[in-house]
């Protein structure tokens, strides 16, 4: 049997690609620890000739406003993850285990809504927020926008998971006199942790990493998340990579921790989200 490829080229190609994929991130990571003068005059590969420092991080956190922006990112992301998670699970339960008129047609509509681009909602939502108590100057606007655009995916995923639960279990709980809400809370939710976790991680990352919707729906500069803050730092410090690098790693830190801690759910979450636009 003639192998069209022998072992060593496979190793070389793979290691080369892995290195190629790692270098850009490592370069920025190294830069984030280098003192200003070093970072402005020499490349990151001179890492061993400069003493490394955390000064860049403290500068962007304190004077650059990234500390405040970090908190804003949390304020935006946590409700914008929990809301579609909770509402989506309840709606999905209704679609999976109760009967109501036009149930299946409505569900098809929700499948269709998953690919509606957010761009179609910018102007009308902004107008709506402006006309109803300036919701876009608070966090409510961005919470509502992310919840609305996260819900179709949540309902779709949860409904598809819920219908795989054994019917007998749900019927038995109903026979015992449990209300629909009790069945949902005590039977369906505990059995659906993997699906809930996958969507939760997907939505968390989606909102945390989002720049576009934050640009439009967070109009108060003191409430802007890290993604928006970094674009502002870019216009102020265009060439000061040591600061941009530190700011970027503050933004990347949380998703990377989630990635390494919950790798399995993380990958599943991203795969599950692939039908969304």
């Amino acid at each position: 049997m003639v192998r069209w490829i022998t072992r060593s080229p496979v190793h070389i190609v793979l290691l080369a690609i892995a290195a190629l994929w790692l270098v850009p991130t490592v370069a920025l990571l190294v830069t984030s620890f280098r003192p200003r003068d070093d970072a402005l005059s020499t490349g990151w590969w001179h890492v061993f000739s400069s003493h490394l420092t955390l000064a860049n991080y403290s500068e962007v956190i304190h004077t650059g406003g990234m500390g405040h922006a970090f908190l804003n990112s949390l304020y935006i992301t946590i409700p914008a993850t929990i809301l579609p998670l909770a509402l989506g699970a309840m709606a999905a339960y209704a679609f999976a285990w109760t009967r109501f008129p036009f149930r299946d047609t409505t569900f098809l509509l929700i499948v269709a809504l998953m690919v509606v681009p957010v761009q179609t909602a910018f102007v009308p939502l902004l107008k709506f927020f402006r006309d109803h108590g300036h919701l876009n100057t608070e966090f409510y606007g961005i919470w509502l926008a992310h919840t609305a655009f996260g819900l179709p995916l949540a309902i779709f995923l949860f409904r598809n998971f819920f219908i795989t639960l054994p019917r007998d279990l749900i019927e038995a709980a109903r026979m015992d006199g449990a209300s629909e809400f009790a069945v949902f809370r005590r039977v369906v939710i505990p059995l659906s942790v993997p699906a809930l976790a996958s969507f939760g991680i997907f939505q968390f990352l989606w909102v945390w990493n989002d720049l576009l919707m934050a640009l439009i729906f967070v109009s108060d500069p003191s409430k802007q998340p890290m993604t928006v803050k970094i674009t502002q730092l870019l216009s102020t410090y265009a060439q000061e990579f040591h600061l941009l690098a530190a700011a970027s790693f503050l933004l990347m830190g949380v998703p990377l921790i989630v990635f390494f801690a919950l790798q399995r759910y993380f990958v599943q979450g991203l795969l599950a989200g692939s039908v969304k636009s």
Partner: protein
Amino acid sequence: MLGLFVVYPAYYTARLAFYKSGYLYDFTNYVGLQNFRDLFQDKDFVDVSHFPPSGALINNIRWIIFYVPLCLILGLALAVLTIRVRYESAVKSIIFIPMAIAATAVGVIWLLVYSPNPDIGTLNAVIHALGGNPVSWLGQENTVNYALIIAYVWASTGFAMVVLSAALKGIPTEIIEAARVDGAGEWNIFRRIMLPMLSLPISIVSVWLFINVIKVFDIIYVMTDGGPGTSSRVIAYSMYKETFYNAFPGKGAAIAVIMLLFLIPVMILNIRRFKSERVMT
């Protein structure tokens, strides 16, 4: 809630595309198809009067031509190759990590790679060391789009690799062993067994990549702001600029409608796939 925040706005935007509205976003001044006509006469949106053609819409097509196949080929190659080595999961993690990184940060990472200063920019340092002249990758019209595409390929290949690798492992080993016993070479096994069996996951990844192209925005906003000039604009970027900077919400709405039209085939595909799955269960 979905009705109020997704369905009604989509209808509103579609209607707005036929009005020349001001900053109030209201339906005054009906102009029919004028916004669409303006758009297709706007050199920043589409310009086919010279070669290569330019404009935001053309750039999205350029993204489809290069970004989608590059991610697919790299993802497929990595899926096939990693399966043969013991450090498979380590390599896959490295390739997948960029999926966790915000496009904003991906932009900063690649700004450093592409920096025109050979003392700082990684790519130009390599070129300089090899005796070449530094290139301003993001500063000239003929390279900027490809530089952006490569940065985004770096960020997205992990997804293609993970989906295709999982599908590859789902192919029963007996089939491949049987082909080997019959004397099939590795290339033939890849071409005649693996590729056909991977057609569904490949189509899923392609659709995902296509959606990515239609909505790509963050990385361009961060790295080039559509420039130099308007040369790296894409439709999502033009939509943003026309609506919020140039105060032409009608024109912006027309672009949003075009984006929706691009995505309607995906919508139909999703519904079809969902219906056929339901028949099986």
